[in-house]
Symmetry: C2
């Protein structure tokens, strides 16, 4: 029997509707949530992401400010821009689109963002709040989106075996940290390139989160029948029959795994749309805190 | 065959000797590392801990300042004391001994400590640096002590199965975060009270870290033959035949598990002594950063 599809587009729409209601409440109280997105250079993928984020903001009734800086921007100029946004009372969320050109240090830029406006959840203090379970922090949008998907599909997490494949700072590590908190109560194993029996771990999972950035890495034999499979990957795979010359594939071999899993997220249309929705949710929360 | 005993007293001594050499170097450059310990109230166990920390500091050639405040100290008074220590250039490390009396908020006090002087590693920004693998942070002393023990006994961690029992903010969570970092490269499973098959997980472990605060919780049948067993627990168990009416027991059933394990830490004399040694090491590092 084929797995239930977890419809990230529909869940993202529901989240964005909730956010829009929250925004309307805030606007009625005189505060319009504002998100500033800083784009340095003209990376085509980044340009698309930034445009989508801006559009989603406006659809939710928020103010969106996009700041485009040339690819030659110095670290000092970028930090000065961050400082200006930190000081701007009309801006509640700040996002610096990655990757940055080589003369800029992403780490230093991220640390410069006011943690109270760090709606990407990348500042160390927000990473720390996540780890220690302090609800004042902002969780990074992708793992937060996975949690939202699990909640909306009533996937039980208490005592569940969760296996996270990947240990990046923006997905794998915060994903594991979210899952072990009291209230979520999953038993979490974090696997990575050095893991010895990765397939064996994956097969234990009630909830398997793939975030390794390798197309179709998770095969059907790595999935326990009935498991919930969350695919965070989005990889370009050469495909001569496609007009563009490539197709998008997740970290999961979707066609085969859907025959084994109980629930599965497609790529695209799974976790992806949730990422922007959670960004809006974080921005609303940042604005709510300063509202009268 | 009985397990090799991991001698925390000897390893702690070696760490403290290294620290003493580093302190001597700093003193020669005109900086004497200083640790301030704040003790609120007169909890007998806390009083002993604080005295031991002060003594260890002095033995390593550091300055030790112990600030005793009455049990009636208000939150405002405690925060003002922290502010004064943050501003004091002769103080490089600040530790507020827990637990605090009920009128004080530990969370707020911890967040008030300058992260650069947070040698206990409890500030959210240091927890975050730990999670994201930023070496600028301070790791909490107990999990840092476990890492030191593993290093000094050449216990391989790359690809090792590590199972951490317990998810406290001062041991379990940072322990797991340290173990998954690149370079350490363990595959980590964090278990807790809601874990379904805790014994099954424990039996998979090449390195089993017990930090649940339940006396003799880890029994021999939960340990893989040859595994390295690290006992972080220190529990009082009633024992009428003892003069004090109790004995100290770890989270591991030492007598039985030592017959199965490859290496094991005793309690006392295992992880415990490392905790103070790592506190000294963190304080030396904090002082080194501000030295000319």
């Amino acid at each position: 029997m084929a797995a239930e599809l977890m419809d990230g587009v529909a869940v993202a729409r529901a989240v964005r509707e909730d956010v829009a209601r929250g925004v309307a409440d805030l606007v009625a109280r005189g505060v319009t949530p504002g998100l500033a997105v800083v784009l340095v250079g003209e990376d085509p993928a980044s340009t698309v992401y930034v445009r989508n984020k801006g559009k989603a903001c406006e659809e939710a009734g928020m103010r969106s400010v996009t700041i485009r800086m040339p690819a030659t921007t110095s670290q000092g100029e970028l930090l000065a821009q961050v400082d200006a946004l930190n000081a701007d009372p009309a801006i509640h969320g700040i996002l610096v689109q990655m990757p940055l050109p080589p003369q800029c240090s992403a780490d230093e830029v991220i640390r410069r963002i006011d943690p109270a406006k760090d709606v990407d959840g990348f500042h160390p203090v927000n990473a720390g709040r996540l780890l220690i379970g302090d609800p004042d922090g902002f969780a990074p949008c992708t793992p937060a989106g996975v949690m939202e998907l699990l909640r909306r599909y009533d996937v039980p997490t208490k005592g569940a075996e969760v296996v996270v494949i990947g240990r990046s700072n923006i997905v794998g590590k915060p994903m594991g940290a979210l899952m072990i908190q009291p209230g979520v109560d999953a038993t979490v194993t974090t696997c990575h390139s050095r893991t010895r029996d990765l397939a064996g771990h994956a097969r234990r999972a009630d909830i398997l989160v793939a975030a390794i950035g390798r197309a179709r890495f998770v095969t059907a034999d790595m999935v326990k029948p009935g498991a919930t499979v969350i695919d965070v990957g989005i990889n370009r795979v050469e495909e001569p029959r496609s007009k563009t010359g490539y197709v998008l594939a997740g970290d999961v071999d979707f066609a085969a795994v859907r025959e084994v899993a109980g629930r599965i997220t497609p790529v695209p249309g799974g976790v992806g749309p949730l990422t922007i929705a959670m960004l809006l949710k974080n921005t609303l929360r940042a604005a709510s805190r300063v509202a009268p």
